[in-house]
């Protein structure tokens, strides 16, 4: 079941490559949040404890409700419209994303020959981290960068499960809160940016170059 959920996670990454709509980015975040919470619950199902349940509930609430709701609020407040106008759909991005996902699974498979890792969750995690980075590089809208960052964080969370490194639950929870604060701060920064850079594009942030 964990494998099914992580493969679905990879499919959301492919969807990420074919859409430029901000509302679709938010939907992807909601889906990924639910999938990650599901994987976390299943991974520790045999070793049930209240702390794991609290973390899973925290993941579900923060990643599928609070953060997406906050991003929707920013989109509405700033009247950002529906899409990343600077980059239309481009098949090259889809090819790159597919390459990232396949590459991640190849790495995961190779690594599993030397050390015990769960190939599919680990591969999906690496794919998530790389895909978030790719989104940041390929899209110009600052809000898309925040979404890319959140996808990296989702991949990171999966990585923790993939390598079966059971972190103290207080740390997982602190990480979750930290994520929320980060998004909140970035939201404030974007709000400020909008007043100075009306298009909200990273291409405008070149005033400090050499």
């Amino acid at each position: 079941m964990i494998n099914v959920l992580t493969i679905l996670f990879c499919l959301t990454l492919i969807y990420l490559a074919v859409t430029t709509r901000l509302s679709a980015y938010v939907l992807i975040l909601v889906l990924q949040g639910a999938l990650v919470a599901g994987v976390h619950t299943l991974a520790f199902f045999n070793n049930f404890s209240w702390s794991h349940l609290i973390v899973a509930a925290g993941v579900l609430v923060v990643r599928t409700l609070l953060i997406p709701a906050y991003i929707v609020k920013i989109i509405r407040q700033l009247d950002m419209g529906h899409g990343d106008r600077t980059r239309r759909y481009h098949p090259g991005f889809l090819v790159q994303m597919a390459g990232v996902v396949i590459g991640a699974f190849v790495i995961s498979h190779q690594l599993s020959r030397f050390t015990p890792v769960n190939v599919i969750p680990f591969g999906a995690a690496v794919a998530g981290i790389a895909a978030g980075g790719l989104l940041i590089v390929r899209r110009r809208l600052l809000l898309a960068h925040v979404v890319g960052f959140l996808i990296i964080e989702n991949g990171l969370f999966l990585l923790g499960i993939g390598v079966q490194a059971e972190m103290p639950w207080t740390i997982e929870l602190a990480g979750l809160l930290d994520l929320f604060v980060l998004v909140f701060l970035m939201g404030i920064a974007i709000n400020q940016l909008k007043s100075h850079f009306p298009e909200g594009e990273s291409a405008e942030l070149t005033g400090l170059q050499e």
């Binding site: 960068h145 960052f149 923790g160 059971e166 103290p168 740390i171 400020q192 400090l208």
Partner: protein
């Protein structure tokens, strides 16, 4: 107990109090008291080498933490002393909000960095480092201009991305300890004790991610751009704080990883990585210092250079590690002096461009004088402290017969020296286009000059007389990395 109160409780109370109280005068007094109490507590820990925290806590002040706490507190006190003059100059309603936030953010910065220095658990360290990053955001955004907004955005984003890599490093470190008794809790001393049993493959991967992740916060190439923009666009006291203490906090985090790697077979690999990162940073600094026309960016690149030297010293090991630690201390002194004077110049000329600074010695004689002294200090001229710490790093390279890094290090230092001299001499000697009488606006001696001179001069007795309290502590730190002098 009093030490714990001074280190953690007082900054917390000062943060809450200054956030509540609107009077800048009272807030300055409270912040100064908190800073001085912190400095005394840090010095107490450094000299006595006693850990004030109970043994079963995840917080501890070991000699390494005590040394870094002293650097943090000393820089903080200098910055707090400089701040009233700076805030008085910031007139106008556009600065009201920033001024209100200044002292609470400063106290919160002290608290977050103290936590990062005393925490002994890797995952918690990651969380606290994130906190330390956020604490700076309102301070970097002080001017509320387009440039400072861009700088704070880039800084937050790049450092947060770096911290994601750091978290991967922490995960891999945890993975390397799988099956090893008592190390899964990721507590630094326990992991260091069990280090030889850790899985070398994951340990190696963990160190790579930790180095890459922390590079953004330390300001090592190629992850330095966010740090450069933030340092060069932040107000002078904030830039001094970043260059003198925030980067040190990130270096300590890296040293915590190195502490675990040190007793293992992964050590030579980690050392090579550090040497490479150090030389790359020096090379990047050399290129950009030559190209630069903004004196605050010049200082920011000088920080990249010096952090590169520190990484190089840690990578070489032995006596070079001692040099790296001393370099951290002396760099914090020099950067405070340089950024304070840069703040004075910015106020007087209204520009950060080198071409705008003319007749410096006539227009700002005191600031110009301290600026020149600080320049000689930072490029490693004797008898200033940086000269001695660089000498230790060179000595380490000679002892270990690292001839290629030795040659590159000297060559790059030479290029940087010439590059910085061009800029500084130009600022001093370029005559103004207006008649001398109108330029000669005699500057009065003020506290910023005294602070700058103190910061430069204080390194001399420390380096020459090598006080036993400091050097015994440094020897204890070296012992944790298996180095005996």
């Amino acid at each position: 107990m009093i030490t714990i109160l001074a280190l953690l409780f007082l900054p917390l109370v000062a943060t809450a109090f200054t956030a509540w109280k609107r009077s800048a005068h009272i807030n300055h007094g409270v912040t100064l008291v908190a800073g001085n109490a912190h400095l005394l507590a840090s010095l107490h820990c450094l000299v006595t080498r006693q850990n004030p925290f109970p043994g079963d806590w995840w917080l501890a002040v070991d000699p390494l933490a005590a040394f870094f706490l002293t650097i943090l507190a000393h820089t903080f006190v200098l910055v707090v002393l400089y701040s009233p003059g700076f805030l008085r100059r910031m007139e106008g309603p556009e600065y009201d909000r920033s001024k209100r936030l200044f002292y609470p953010a400063l106290n919160f910065y002290l608290l977050a960095n103290t936590l990062a220095l005393v925490v002994q658990q890797f995952a918690l360290l990651w969380v606290v480092l994130e906190l330390a990053t956020f604490s700076l955001a309102p301070l970097i955004f002080f001017y509320r201009s387009k440039e400072s907004l861009e700088a704070v955005w880039k800084y937050l984003f790049l450092v947060s991305l770096g911290l994601v890599f750091l978290f991967v490093g922490v995960l891999f470190l945890g993975l390397s300890a799988r099956g090893v008794a008592d190390s899964a809790a990721l507590v630094v001393p326990r992991m260091a004790d069990a280090a030889p049993q850790l899985n070398p493959l994951w340990l190696k991967a963990g160190f790579i991610f930790a180095l890459v992740g922390l590079s953004a916060k330390i300001g090592l190439a190629p992850m330095h751009p966010g740090d450069i923009d933030a340092t060069s666009n932040a107000p002078a006291p904030v830039a001094a704080l970043m260059a003198g203490s925030l980067r040190s906090t990130a270096v300590l985090a890296l040293l915590r990883f190195y502490q675990v790697v040190s007793p293992t077979e992964v050590r030579p690999f980690a050392q090579k990585l550090l040497v490479f990162a150090g030389l790359l940073s020096l090379a990047v600094a050399a290129v950009y210092i030559w190209r630069n026309r903004n004196y605050k960016r010049l200082l920011a690149y000088s920080s990249v250079e010096h952090l590169g030297i520190i990484a190089l010293g840690v990578g070489i090991g032995g006596v070079a590690l001692l040099g790296a630690l001393l370099h951290l201390l002396f760099n914090s002194f020099g950067k405070a002096a340089l950024f304070f004077m840069a703040g004075n110049m910015h106020r007087s000329y209204g520009s950060r461009e080198v071409n705008s600074i003319t007749d410096l010695m006539r227009r700002l004689p005191w600031s110009g004088f301290v600026w020149v002294l600080a320049f000689f200090y930072i490029v490693g001229t004797p008898p200033f402290g940086i000269f001695f710490s660089e000498l230790f790093v060179l000595q380490g390279m000679i002892r270990t017969a690292n001839w290629l890094p030795f040659t590159l290090f000297l060559a790059l230092l030479m290029v940087i020296f010439i590059g910085m001299s061009r800029v500084v001499l130009r600022m001093l000697q370029t005559p103004s286009g207006v008649p001398p009488q109108s330029v000669a606006k005699q500057e009065r001696w003020n506290l910023s000059h005294a602070l700058g001179l103190y910061a430069i001069a204080a390194s001399v007795p420390l380096a020459i007389f090598q006080p036993a309290a400091l050097f015994d502590s440094l020897r204890a730190i070296l012992a944790t990395f298996g180095v005996k002098l």
